[in-house]
């Protein structure tokens, strides 16, 4: 049956609220592994040793069908509601149609513009440089971020996580977490400005 429209996160929340209650450990230890094993067998998936990247079309298409079926038959779990929501295959395809096919990160002369790279396109992927969530001290934060922003191959930035803010631990769920995030963003802005690329995306 055709999908009425692509889903929004609000629709998804509504489905979770009305979804079936399932204990989290049953989801983790039974539902997920059993269904993945069944789909692996159904689609006869066996990756070739020595082939990091698949060289045949059959494997990648079978894997896609298995992933699609996993999402459409097993659904998704919401931890704090303890419930499962479901989505149809038609809704998945409708949602894929709605996804952006191109995107711009950053602003001004420092934008990173990218398009889908089907297969091994000769176009270089966007390089998002940064410590990718690694812990960074307050003292070194700007300098470390500047070391990425000044690299010619870097098109966009990803920041590290500041351990402390003004000497206090940036503990999750406390006001210090908010303060540390704000400071990270201010310092990242300073780093890209010092590198002469103030418009770089983050």
């Amino acid at each position: 049956m055709a999908a009425t429209r692509p889903l929004t996160v609000i629709d998804v929340y509504e489905r979770f609220v009305k979804g079936k209650k399932v204990p989290e450990n049953e989801w983790d230890y039974t539902i997920i592994p059993q269904n993945l094993t069944a789909l692996k067998e159904k689609y006869k998936l066996k990756f070739e040793p020595g082939q990091s990247v698949p060289e045949d079309n059959e494997t990648k298409n079978a894997l896609f069908q298995a992933g699609l079926e996993m999402l459409s038959t097993v659904g998704f779990y919401c931890q704090d509601l303890g419930r499962v929501m479901h989505v149809t295959e038609e809704e998945i395809w409708e949602g894929i149609k709605k996804t952006p096919k191109k995107l711009i990160l950053g602003e001004g002369r420092d934008i990173a513009r990218f398009y889908p790279r089907h297969g091994n396109s000769p176009v270089k992927p966007i390089i998002q440089g940064g410590p990718t969530g690694s812990p960074v001290s307050e003292e070194m934060f700007i300098k470390i971020m500047q070391s990425y922003a000044q690299e010619a191959v870097v098109d966009d930035l990803v920041d590290g996580v500041m351990d402390t803010v003004e000497g206090k631990k940036a503990k999750s769920g406390t006001p210090y977490e908010i303060r540390a995030t704000m400071q990270e963003l201010r310092m990242t802005k300073e780093a890209r400005t010092r590198a002469g690329r103030p418009g770089l995306g983050v």
């Binding site: 990091s52 990247v53 896609f64 091994n120």
Partner: protein, 246 residues
């Protein structure tokens, strides 16, 4: 919340990033963030790092899970880019043989059947200022590039848990290896990646922690040390011996 504040918060053209939970799980806090960003027209990047050897065992099962989680990011949670990162439960890096295979198979499956924008992130087991770290980065960059990913994000050396052990030179290797792999045949890429993997995958038990940023760069000029530049050159030479034409 702080990321969206008007003064010094993220711009709409920055990636507003949040993460699914392992495996195929979220919570309401995740959905609240997405709702705010989506209604504000912000760029949304959703992260999910399937754990190889956690609730899921084989490479094939982890890859199925990876495809399902990626589709969910777009279809259920309205993201613009999905940030992948299959990670090994024992080694904690994304650059091991099994996780490279998972990421590449998932990306090729999605690339062949959709137009969605795919990213991957880099966690090496070795720290900065070591050849092993740079080899790990290069192997993954080749795999991600030939499997059609649009954005490569990194690097978090030393599994991303060591303070101040990250520098711009690892990102330079990421970009240079990716550029060199653009347009390469998959068969050639597999051969080169296999050669590079053989150079580091037996060293996981004794992976070097490397050096802190303060020891890798001159803090006044912000230029990398001669020691690190030499290591970088040696790594490029090693990768060339493995078959890569820079």
């Amino acid at each position: 919340m702080s990321a969206s504040m008007v003064n010094n918060g993220l711009r709409s053209c920055d990636c507003h990033e949040c993460s699914q939970m392992n495996e195929l799980k979220v919570n309401t806090s995740f959905m609240n963030m997405i709702a705010g960003w989506h209604l504000s027209g912000d760029t949304i990047m959703i992260e999910q790092m399937p754990i190889m050897g956690g609730y899921v065992s084989s490479v094939e099962e982890t890859a199925i899970c990876d495809v399902a989680a990626t589709l969910a990011s777009f279809v259920l949670y309205n993201c613009d880019i999905h940030l992948d990162g299959p990670v090994h439960i024992r080694w904690g890096n994304t650059s091991n043989r099994e996780c490279l295979q998972v990421a590449a198979h998932a990306a090729r499956a999605l690339d062949a059947n959709t137009d969605v924008l795919l990213a991957n992130q880099y966690y090496t087991i070795a720290g900065p200022c070591t050849e092993m770290c740079l080899l790990e980065v290069a192997a993954q960059a080749i795999v991600d590039t030939v499997s059609g990913r649009e954005l490569l994000s990194g690097v978090a050396p030393g599994k991303g848990v060591l303070q101040d052990r990250a520098t711009g030179l690892e990102a330079r290797m990421l970009g240079e290896a990716s550029s060199a792999a653009c347009g390469m045949s998959i068969e050639a890429a597999n051969g080169i990646v296999d050669n590079i993997l053989h150079r580091y995958e037996l060293n996981y038990h004794h992976a070097p922690m490397g050096k802190k940023f303060q020891e890798c760069y001159n803090l006044d000029t912000l230029r990398p040390s001669q020691e690190y530049l030499d290591i970088y050159e040696n790594a490029m030479h090693t990768i060339s011996l493995c078959g890569m034409d820079f």
